[in-house]
Amino acid sequence: MTKERRQILIFLFFAAAVLVIPFFLKGSYFLNVLVFIGINTMLAVALNLLLGYAGQISLGHAAFFGLGAYISGILTTRFPVDPWLAMMLAGFCAAGLAFVIGFPILKLKGHYLAMATLGFGIIMYIIFNETVGWTGGPSGLSSIPNLHIGSLFFDNDWNNYYLIWIFTLGIMLLSINLSQSRIGRALRAIHDSEVAARVMGVNVRILKVQIFTVSALLSAVAGSLYAHTMTFISPVAFGFNFSVELVTMVIIGGLGSIYGSFLGAAILTLLPELLRVFQDFDIVIYGLMLILITMFMPGGLISGIETLAKFVVSRIRGKQSNA
């Protein structure tokens, strides 16, 4: 089986699993958690394109998520704009902003880039918080309309689940395609040796801005979906903490792996829920688990799983040859 075939099969298997899971779940609680995993997966995948592939950090990605949510929210609550159109405009605006700030910001490297994106995130957070007339300030923006196709309204858990996950699967598929193309290779080349990439004819400056823009666009679409499914947004969800959480998802899951981003998003969304039984100790165990994963699986969960799978396969083969 060729590598390409295998990858198509893995994706189809993953998509099929995603589509049938709701039939095995009882009650809306888990469906809700899965909706959050979907949104976080989109964001982690978007950030992974920048961080995992191109090797450029952003500590302000929650800002693009927030921007998407607020543009969508404001346009549909204060103006008679159709939610789908609002989503497109949200994506377009976030991409435009990323494009404009990308040129100066992405000239910076390493810690300086981290600081610049951090600053951007904080500025956006302040804007969300302070422009009370538009965003509702700290008390948030409510009664954001649901998305709908004709008379099909995405206003219950079941419909929301499929809405979010169809977008998530779409974004994952596009990102996988991108990562295996000349653009994906050029991005990884930048990650490994910027100077060699330039000598090979990769326009590093433009490509960094392009991928930053795409990443912002996808994050804003996720933000818009978030706003229309939750129908209420407030600045807390788009602050520095969430930016760091997104970076953690990408690293824990595995840099440069799209399925890794899903795993990272799933673990970081599930852990706080699962650890509730430990009450006050949950944050300690949460931190401890993150430390252990980074210590023992430096390539992230996805490479940990791959190593484990190879180990099991070789053990089985070993036993067969012994017998």
Partner: protein, 250 residues
């Protein structure tokens, strides 16, 4: 083919290159030699757009490329390798060479993400071409290895394969024999000759005199940032100024 006209490079107060003019004939193998600190690598960095010269002009054919960026030069067919082997370590050997075909392909972000038919065709072309270059340098067996796991000598070959994938008119090699054992050096010499046979102009900076004298048709000697001599290997070996630069003032 490649012509430098009055190149000066000053770092702070240090003059690295002083009024260096030279020309490289199309289709030749030209060696640049000189003691450590003579400015050889600086010269390469200027030609390939990594440094900007303080003054002077660089021409590729008739084109003035003095202020061109490396990525533009790659598109024009000027490419280089590095003294310390700059591979894309986390990528496979084949993927490394496929990056070399970046300028020979053009699918953008959206055609790649949506896998439009022309992009699929292009991807196939990139892969075939990449494999072809690996066969040319004898690395086809290693295609699926991760580049950072290659032994040093093969890393060098990979860097050359990747540069060839750009389909250059001219390739600049910075100390291609450094760190190679004698057998690998012999293989390198024959590879460089085969590259020349493809019609590609080769310029190399090298310390291995035996290699330089063996394969180069023309040799340029730099010393303390100035051009000392240019000529055939025999002329250079007999040039008193070169001898005194290498052996010290007698």
């Amino acid at each position: 083919m490649l012509r430098l006209d009055g190149i000066n490079k000053i770092f702070g107060g240090l003059t690295a290159l002083e009024d260096v003019s030279l020309s490289v004939t199309r289709g030749s193998i030209t060696g640049i030699i000189g003691p450590n600190g003579a400015g050889k690598t600086t010269l390469f960095n200027i030609v390939t757009g990594l440094y900007t010269q303080t003054s002077g002009q660089v021409y590729l054919g008739e084109k003035n490329i003095s202020l061109f960026a490396p990525e533009t030069l790659a598109g024009l067919g000027l490419v280089r390798t590095f003294q310390n082997v700059e591979l894309f370590g986390q990528m496979t050997v084949l993927e490394n060479v496929m990056v070399g075909l970046h300028t020979r392909s053009k699918s953008g972000i959206f055609s790649c993400a949506f896998k439009i038919p022309s992009q699929i065709r292009e991807e196939k072309y990139i892969k075939e071409k990449g494999l072809k270059w690996l066969e040319f340098t004898g690395l086809a067996d290693c295609a699926d290895l991760t580049a950072c796991n290659l032994p040093f000598g093969k890393g060098r070959l990979l860097e050359i394969s990747r540069a060839l994938a750009v389909e250059p008119q001219i390739i600049l090699m910075d100390e291609p024999a450094a760190g190679l054992n004698s057998r690998e050096t012999v293989e390198l010499a024959s590879l460089i000759r085969r590259i020349k046979e493809l019609g590609i102009t080769v310029v190399l900076v090298e310390h291995d005199m035996e290699l330089v004298m063996d394969i180069c048709e023309s040799i340029i000697v730099l010393n303390l940032g100035k051009k000392l001599a240019q000529g055939t290997p025999r002329e250079i070996q007999e040039n008193p100024a070169v001898i005194s630069a290498y052996l010290g003032e007698g």
